[in-house]
């Protein structure tokens, strides 16, 4: 598992990553997990609102938006890196 310190909040538009670990302390993060942001899920940074927050991601073809604050709870690594 890549421990590069990269999170969903530190991606650029077009980046595709896999979620490695989730810091589940924030209930809002757990809510995002019930929407499918769990370890192993592939996710793509699509765009963001003005000022870079909230961020829009693509998860299995669906757009989902969240705030930077929650995005930080998801540690990620580039697609294919861990295989």
């Amino acid at each position: 598992m890549a421990e590069s310190g990269k999170t969903l909040a530190s991606m650029n538009a077009g980046d595709k990553v896999v979620i490695d670990a989730v810091d589940t302390r924030d209930p809002q993060v757990r809510r995002l997990m019930t929407l499918g942001l769990v370890e192993g899920a592939e996710i793509e940074h699509a765009t963001s609102a003005l000022g870079g927050d909230p961020i829009e991601f693509i998860l299995f073809g669906q757009a989902i938006s969240m705030r930077r604050e929650q995005a930080r709870a998801f540690s990620v690594s580039p697609v294919g890196a861990g295989e």
Binding site: T24, R30, G36, A41, S48, A49, L50, P54, G61, E69
Partner: protein
């Protein structure tokens, strides 16, 4: 019918039931209950379109309704005989998450895979038989609700659904499944499973009190072995999504597709700057439509109401009954339907924007701005709706997950300048703001704009204040699915529009109508015989000395003066005189005071009362009324309507909660009298202080 939000559930519901549907209410809560009838092969089924939910662990008030109905915990709703799970074929990932939870219910179940046309275009291929097999053999029907493809086969399945017998299922999370069975075989695995994952909470209170006193030790042991130190909900998401991904690998293949021009345009439009500009353009168009398009229709309704009410009075003579019919009932009905054009146009746009996926995007784009005042992007839709009318605005707060955020939004909404404030603004601006230009801009228009801005600022400050004090709490959450752009389906849009219009007429209409009758009675009774005798004498005298047009004018003048005298000694006039000392620091005489009192239950009646009290008739045109109020004076000859007084009156109208319908809807939505009473007292106090400051500092 259960499904994720935006899974095409309502479109399918409309396709299955056609117009054989009605909107009711769940007792005690305000979420509408959409019920429709479907008859197929002689079998009559009642379909209930539940609010969309992502999981059986509810997150918002709306999701809670869906979950409570599914688990038969909803007073006034019966347990479902079967479930139709509606799954968007382009979003199998989240659809299957909900579906595998539904399968754990002891309830017959069928699946409708919607939007197969969209999935095909996106290169998504789903092996229906493999999916059905993976789900323990439950029927799965691909449908395209917009064209009706696959609907007949789905109806065949539905008409025999309650008799369905299900083989044992292959659970997504065997450890939880077995634990739930072991803990309590008497209830469905889904329900006991929720208790195990969520712990005893408000939602599963009854099951918890039934089970836990006896089985607390077993319950704790199960939770310890299932979750350890992990967050239960996180553990559940991991386990269930692992099953979902495995299933998707087996049943779905996605072929690469060529990115169409449309997709490229949408991708560009979603970027921060084009997205934000687009949002403001769309909002400007909606505002323009609500105000510009509706005005001619509203004028038409207004003149039709006056003509009808005048005709009724003429036909029925001069008595109390004629006045009740003409000025009470017809004017009362008119005061309700006058809002319909704006409300319908607003609803039409909101439905179009909602169905096309735009509203979710608006919430996302404006989240940052809303966050700075302690709210989230999801509060933006209620606020925008409130510019037409706070009633639908407040009803639109149901999607806000947190109660504190929801109440803060509800209390900010009535500050938005609603359409009923507009006539008062228009009258006072026309009378006191000179129609000259400041640069390119018209001064009157600028003042109107400033009043709109003032409402927004006060609403936002109120939300901010509440979030710092009574409604202090963690930052409102924001995590939102952004549905892909879809062309709204005309049929669905119209059915929804009709439904929402009915709800508005029922909710607001009844209140406004009753209020109009009460205000009529207060302004009509008691009648003075002296005034009546004086009027007859004056009319007789006029008929002797005048003729032709001058006679008609004189008679009208006498009639208007008589009405003003009658109003002066009516209950309303007496109330105005009683409270005059309270309002004289604001520069108001008893006439303005009575008009303001009459406006408390429904602010729009103020124009009619001012018209009567200043003896220009209750259907006075604005120009005449504004001439007359300019010349109104105190007994010592000072003018009543000075600029500071008019500014104060405008501020008062901008801030006051003069709307019984809004108070009633706040009561219903918050389920207590605490918030409507607070809102009323707070807004009235603000209005009073604002008007006082404007008058005292300005004079």
């Amino acid at each position: 019918m259960v499904g994720n939000p935006n899974s095409g559930k309502s479109t399918l519901f409309n396709r299955l039931t056609g117009l054989r549907q009605r909107i009711g209410n769940y007792p005690g809560v305000t979420v509408e209950r959409h019920v429709g009838e479907m008859t197929h092969d002689g079998v009559k089924l009642e379909l209930v379109d539940l609010p969309g939910t992502h999981a059986l662990s509810a997150h918002s008030f709306e999701e809670m309704i869906a979950v409570n109905v599914i688990f038969d915990r909803m007073p006034g709703a019966s347990a479902p005989d079967g479930i139709l799970a509606v799954i968007d074929s382009t979003n199998l990932y989240q659809g299957l998450y909900l579906l595998q939870q539904l399968i754990e219910m002891d309830c017959p179940i069928a699946v409708a895979l919607t939007m197969t046309d969209v999935a095909q275009a996106a290169g998504i291929n789903i092996d229906i038989d493999a999916l059905s097999a993976r789900l323990g053999g439950i029927p799965v029907h691909p449908v395209t609700a917009t064209t009706g493809q696959g609907i007949d086969a789905l109806k065949d399945t539905l008409s025999t659904l309650p008799d369905q017998s299900r083989e044992s299922i292959d659970p997504a999370w065997p450890a939880l499944f077995d634990a739930a069975r072991q803990l309590d075989p008497g209830h469905s695995v889904a329900e006991v499973g929720r208790l195990i994952v969520d712990g005893p909470d408000d939602a599963n209170k009854s099951l918890a009190t039934e089970l836990l006193p006896e089985k607390q030790t077993a319950f704790d042991a199960i939770r310890a072995s299932l979750f350890g130190d992990d967050e239960p909900l996180a553990a559940e998401a991991r386990a269930r999504y692992a099953w979902v991904r495995k299933t998707m690998d087996e049943v779905q293949e996605t072929l690469p597709v060529y990115k169409t021009l449309g997709a490229k345009i949408i991708r560009f439009a979603n970027r921060p700057i084009p997205g934000t500009i687009g949002l403001f353009v769309v909002m400007a168009i909606v505002f323009q439509a609500v105000f510009a398009w509706a005005t001619p229709i509203m004028d038409l309704i207004d003149s039709a109401t006056s003509a009808l009410s005048g005709a009724a009075v003429d036909a029925l003579g001069d008595g109390a009954f004629a006045s009740l019919v003409g000025d009470g009932i017809i004017a009362g009905v008119g005061s309700v339907i006058i809002f319909l054009p704006q409300i319908l146009i607003l609803f039409l746009f909101i439905i179009l924007l909602e169905d096309s996926g735009f509203l979710a995007r608006a919430a996302y784009l404006l989240d940052r701005a809303m966050r700075s005042v302690g709210l989230s992007g999801q509060s933006i839709i209620p606020m925008i709706s409130s510019f037409a009318c706070a009633v639908p605005g407040i009803m639109a707060t149901r999607v806000i997950p947190n109660r504190r955020d929801r109440i803060a939004t509800i209390l900010a909404a009535p500050f938005m300048t609603c359409s009923a404030r507009l006539p008062v603004y228009a009258l006072l601006i026309a009378a006191f703001v000179p129609a000259r230009n400041v640069g390119f801009l018209n001064l009157q228009g600028l003042v109107l704009f400033a009043l709109y801005l003032f409402g927004i600022v006060m609403g936002v400050l109120t939300a901010l204040l509440l979030r710092q004090t009574a409604l202090r709490g963690p930052k409102p959450p924001f995590a939102l699915m952004l549905p892909a752009f879809r062309r709204p389906n005309l049929r669905t849009v119209l059915i929804q529009l009709l439904g929402r219009a009915k709800v508005f007429l029922y909710r607001a209409g009844t209140v406004i109508f009753v209020v109009a009758l009460i205000v009529w009675a207060l302004a009509y009774y008691p009648r003075s015989d002296d005034v009546a005798e004086f009027t007859v004498a004056a009319q007789a005298q006029a008929e002797q000395s005048l003729s032709g047009e001058r006679l008609a004018d004189a008679l009208e003048e006498i009639g208007n003066r008589a009405a003003a005298l009658q109003l002066e000694q009516s209950w309303l006039g007496r109330m105005g005189k009683t409270v005059e000392p309270l309002f004289s620091p604001l520069g108001w005489d008893w006439r303005v005071s009575s008009a303001v009192i009459a406006g408390f239950p429904a602010r729009e009646v103020v124009i009619a009362v001012l018209g009567t009290v200043y003896a220009v008739g209750d259907e006075a045109d604005e120009a005449r009324l504004s001439e007359r109020i300019k010349s109104a004076s105190w007994p010592d000859g000072r003018p009543v309507f000075t600029l500071p007084m008019a500014v104060g009156l405008l501020i008062f109208y901008a801030l006051c909660l003069q709307c019984a319908a809004t108070i009633a809807v706040i009561r219903r939505e918050t389920n207590s009298w605490r918030w409507p009473v607070f809102a009323w007292a707070y807004m009235s106090a603000l209005g009073y202080v604002g008007a006082l400051l404007a008058f005292q500092l300005g004079s």
